[in-house]
Amino acid sequence: MSRGAEWFAHVGAGGTPVAGLPASVRAADTTIDGVPVRVVAVVRDPGARFPRARQGEVGIDEGFALARAVRGTPPGSAILAIVDVPGQAFGVREEAIGLQRALAASAQAYVQMRRGGHPVLALVVGKAISGAFLAHGLQAGWIGAIDDAAVEVHVMSKPAVARVTRMDEADLVRIAREVPATARDIETFARFGAVDELFPAGVAPEAVVAALAPALRDGRGLRNPVARLAYPGAVQTRALAREVRARLQEAWDA
């Protein structure tokens, strides 16, 4: 079982499964410390009809199914995205059908539900990669993550980065030390202020679930992504993103 599937089983235990989704998208309505929560995950489905989306990738079926699952969240319920997504589907059929719209569907659903008053939390338990993370997890108002080596955040595999940037893979390792934005580990990602809570490797699932409770209640799940610029850490690590906004605002109506 993939990490995402394991964590979905832990967190969604005892919940009511949401019907009508492909086997690669799981959703269940449960409660955490009395708060109703819809838990949503993408999992591996070796029998998925699109061959390039059988390892837990977000493809055509997953993007649109995530959107349906998220939009179907009952009134008053929060949303918890369990994130273990190795990327978007890399397939020519997907491109022809319009993969950008499938990922947009999911991202839009998360944004509209969060802005509509449903707290959105994400728990990164495995890979959180590129378009898949944009579609599933990165629109959360609160993001938690497990701090171990299997948890990765990046935008493209090393061989593909090497091809596009015309560097070799050894260079990429050196650069990741000099330019933290290109690193792939969760601890470095957390320095940008986007991770609200890092759980130690091997943490008991019960402890994680218990830690979700306050975030479900205190409104942090309702914060828009731009609020991350003010989080501890981001003030230094994203100083340029803040400065650009300040300059734009000053010159906007000048």
Binding site: F64, I97, A102, V164
Partner: protein, 255 residues
């Protein structure tokens, strides 16, 4: 005398932005002389550019206050880094503020970009999440118009964002896709896609195809005047993209 078309795609990002606004009204924000440039590129063997490849221009469009954001497809494939991402997100946020204050600003995203800049990967993905959120919020109040009319087209995280806009104007020479052909070939093998097969790439992701699928609201000629007129029309007679729902899957696409 026959007037020759003036290509929009051959223009720089700055000239594209200027050309969309009403003549004499364009004013650049954070221009290259402010030298807000990426500190991350030198270590990676890339010379930074003084505008970071994104141009923000205020002015009027069809006589109404407006902002055009144009990405520079000639600089690192039009990729979005921390600064360029903040320019796009910041312009959207200010446009949203204007809408809430009752002083609406027309917002055009003239995108020519391969997506997230790999050299600033995780800073860029955070910026793209902010852009996606802001487009969605703004779209609830007014049209958000994307123009895809450059040599690169739009890929990656920015193609996700483009699909969140209310309208997309596209030229036949531009492309809209999620994964670029090189990336698909590297990740999935040449048997999945031969990236050098450009006719195939255009058949599946080219502007004409996207318009036929209903994934662009207008197919425009690569001509500065035609594009400017189409952009004004996109605000005055708005057309909406269809809702983001599962399309019909052509036979043979999913076994």
């Amino acid at each position: 005398m026959i007037a020759l078309a003036e290509s929009f795609a051959e223009r720089s990002a700055r000239e594209r932005a200027r050309g969309l606004l009403d003549p004499g009204t364009a004013r650049e924000l954070i221009d290259p002389f402010e030298r807000v440039e990426s500190p991350y590129l030198a270590a990676q063997g890339v010379v930074p550019q003084s505008d970071d490849g994104v141009v923000v221009m205020r002015g009027t469009l069809g006589g109404v206050r407006a902002c055009v954001v144009a990405t520079d497809g000639r600089f690192l494939g039009g990729s979005i880094g921390e600064i360029g991402g903040a320019k796009i997100a910041g312009a959207l946020e200010l446009t949203l503020r204007d809408a809430e204050r009752g002083t609406p600003t027309r917002l055009v995203l003239a995108l020519d970009t391969g997506g997230i800049r790999l050299q600033e990967a995780n800073l860029a993905i955070l910026a793209v999440s902010e852009i996606a959120d802001a487009i969605t919020a703004l779209r609830a109040k007014q049209p958000v118009v994307a123009l895809v009319a450059g040599r690169v087209g739009v890929y990656g995280g920015l193609s996700l964002c483009t699909s969140l806009c209310s309208a997309i104007l596209v030229t036949e020479g531009a492309r809209i896709g999620l994964n670029g052909p090189d990336v698909i070939e590297t990740e999935a093998g040449v048997e999945e896609l031969d990236a050098s097969d450009l006719p195939l790439v255009w058949r599946i992701t080219g502007g004409k195809r996207r318009f036929e699928q209903g994934f662009a609201t207008e197919l425009v000629r690569d001509d500065v005047d035609a594009i400017r007129a189409a952009v004004v029309r996109a605000f005055e007679e708005p057309r909406e993209l269809p809702p983001l729902e599962m399309p019909a899957i052509p036979e043979g696409y999913a076994p």
